[in-house]
Amino acid sequence: MSSARLPRKRFYRARAHSNPLSDSHFPVPNCPSEVDYSFHYPYFFPKDAPPAPKPKVRFADVGCGFGGMLVSLSPLFPDTLMIGMELRDKAFLLLLFLSLSLSLFINYAEYFISFTRSAHQVTEYVKDRIQGLRATNPGQYNNISVVRTNSMKYIPNYFEKGQLLKMFFLFPDPHFKEKNHRRRVVSVQLLDEYAYVMEVGGIIYTVTDVEELGDWMKSCLEKHPLFEAVGEEEIKKDPVVKLLTSATEEGQKVARNEGQTFMAIYRRVASKED
């Protein structure tokens, strides 16, 4: 029973606020073709496969935290590659647990140790979580992974034009002070980049428990010429929507406290320029 139990997360607490402007010490790929996705999804990139079209990442969870959304989405879309992007090293817990399940532990562990000095604690946490997940879900979670990066600066370094079908922004940091609004991960200017990496028809999901931030995200999307609100009916039918408030650690916390949530769900539309 102890193997299936989730380890206590308080050992791995990350900082309460992270500053997306701060310059980083993680490696940044120069362009999307430089990212070795076979490293992230070895199951989808078998060594002896023909050089046929390589599968591409289609979903991105921006600021994924501990990756709860990816873990929930994985079995719903088992053939879709998904990636989480996280600035803080907490996401590397997930990375490690994935790598373990994929027998890539050695590689990732070395990579990881360069970022943290508490690798021992982390590996203990991961081992526990892995064993728990493996015991109940053999052969799953091959389609999810995570990168440590500043999504506000490096989205185009990871994705090509029109590559993504879904983007998630779940409970992003609110940055209340007006002078810090430009640190918000959803803004009209950053939406230009999100629109660029999304396929026309793709959907962007945002949710927050901070009303003011909810209004802000909605108004940014509303103002943006390349996004249009998804209709009520369609939202009701979308199986992903109920996960927005239930799948992530932050969502669960809000739900426990019976807090309100504010969603904005928009579709990438074609430019009306020509």
């Binding site: 310059d23 120069n30 506000m152 034009k161 009209v188 200017q189 230009d192």
Partner: protein, 435 residues
């Protein structure tokens, strides 16, 4: 602690007194030449053969700090200047009278006038590009149209067909954005990102095939390469590494604090002649572009006197002359030792005029002596501020070093030592393991 460090570098206060490179721009028909150094705009009218003092009859403020960017409009009717004093000035080039003065919230790092002269765009130190209409006589409010998140935009150019605006930044990125019909509503549609530089991008220039059916983009940067792009889809077509040609040591042998970079690039519109300035080369390198093979090749090096490292280049389409300037503002008095001239500049011109126009590559460029330059002594007096600039080698060496340091400071993000990082991490109590 972390936050305050970041805020500091964001607002760019560190750069206040750093040396700013002298800039040069030439009217598209070569009817005038402008050198900007410090807060001074030095204009010489080649048609009338006289020095010109730009005036502001509207009573707007003159530049009061280093000018960081200048540009003529495509038709040459307008000229724009902007920089550390946070003002953008638009000049009519017929009279050299200022017709607009725009207040920016932040220092300005790049400026451009749209292809139809309908708009001016300027990039601030926060990586935001602003636009103002030039279609009205009065000043209207500048509005933001796009942003490079928390980066510094180093170069901004409109494509010759006016459809795109290209912006380059210190984070290795070049963004190509559709320039919309109603530009005041923002430029949201990204056509492509040109990614491949492995260090900051410092300069951009568009070129196109003879029949103008297809356009390309050239860029240079801190990785000491010039790159050729198909900007319609961001494909990197060719990388020309200048390390060897410039007689520079292998990358591994270049000391960290002695890094060298491509600082400016200019090209004849059909790409047959490309001039490149490199921080460690006293002269210019000439490249040429083969559109069908999609390659760049180094044609020739034009060496100049020792310590003459051009800080800016300009070329007009008729490409009779390549204009180069070297100089810097804000040199400390120790850099200048026994020289009182604060705004030291030197202009050198390479001439391509030749009888045989058949083959661009075989034309032999000639570095003009001071006595041979168009406009003669009068021009040199106006643009250089003195005639004895050639004799001030030590001062130029100091200027070259100062400009190099200031560029590195601006482009290279603060790198903290491993120990310092560890210390910061240890002091962050939220990471401490509570057992």
């Amino acid at each position: 602690m972390e936050e305050s460090l970041v805020e500091e570098s964001e607002s760019g206060n560190a750069c206040t007194d750093e040396a700013a490179p002298a800039l040069i721009a030439v009217h598209p028909t070569e009817s005038s030449v402008v050198v900007a150094v410090g807060s001074e705009l030095r204009v010489f009218d080649l048609k009338e053969d006289c020095a010109v003092s730009p005036v502001d009859d509207l009573g707007g403020p003159h530049h009061s700090a280093s000018i960081r960017a200048i540009s003529f409009s495509f038709d040459g009717e307008l000229f724009v200047s902007a920089g550390d004093d946070k003002i953008v000035k638009i000049w009519k080039t017929g009279s050299w009278n200022c017709i607009h003065t725009i207040q920016s919230e932040k220092r300005v790092s790049a400026v451009s006038i749209s292809q139809d002269s309908g708009y001016v765009t300027f990039a601030d130190k926060f990586g935001v590009v602003w636009i103002m209409s030039l279609k009205e006589d009065r000043d209207t409010k500048a509005v933001p149209i796009l942003g490079h998140y928390c980066s510094i935009i180093t170069s901004m150019k409109f494509s010759p067909d006016g459809r795109f605006i290209a912006t380059a930044d210190r984070d290795h990125k070049i963004r190509i954005t559709v320039f919309p019909r109603n530009a005041l509503k923002g430029a949201h549609e990204i056509q492509s990102f040109c990614l491949g530089h492995t260090d900051f991008v410092s300069c951009l220039t568009f070129v196109c095939t003879q029949d103008q059916s297809k356009g390309f983009l050239l860029s240079g940067g801190g990785d000491l390469t010039v790159r050729l792009w198909d900007y319609s889809n961001g494909t990197l077509l060719y990388t020309c590494a200048l390390g060897n040609e410039a007689g520079i040591l292998e990358a591994s042998e270049i000391e960290e604090n002695n890094k060298t970079a491509v600082t400016d690039i200019c090209a004849s519109s059909n790409g047959s002649l490309i001039a490149v300035a490199v921080q460690s080369y006293n002269g210019v390198m000439l490249l040429s572009c083969d559109f069908s093979a999609r390659t760049l090749s180094c044609v020739k090096k034009v060496p100049m006197e020792k310590s003459y490292i051009p800080t800016s280049l300009a070329l007009v389409s008729s490409k009779e002359h390549l204009w180069t300037v070297m100089g810097a503002s804000n040199l400390s008095s120790s850099d200048l030792s026994n020289n009182k001239e604060q705004l030291l500049t030197r202009v050198r011109i390479v001439s391509f005029i030749q009888k045989d126009f058949s083959d661009a590559c075989s034309r032999d460029p000639v570095l003009l002596e001071d006595s041979q330059v168009p406009g003669g002594e009068k021009l040199l007096m106006q643009l250089q501020g003195s005639l004895d600039a050639a004799t001030q080698e030590a001062a130029f060496a100091a200027a070259a070093a100062a400009v190099r340091t200031s560029l590195q400071n601006m482009m290279i993000k603060k790198q903290y030592s491993v120990e310092r990082r560890e210390l910061r991490k240890r002091n962050r109590n939220d990471k401490k393991i509570k057992s």
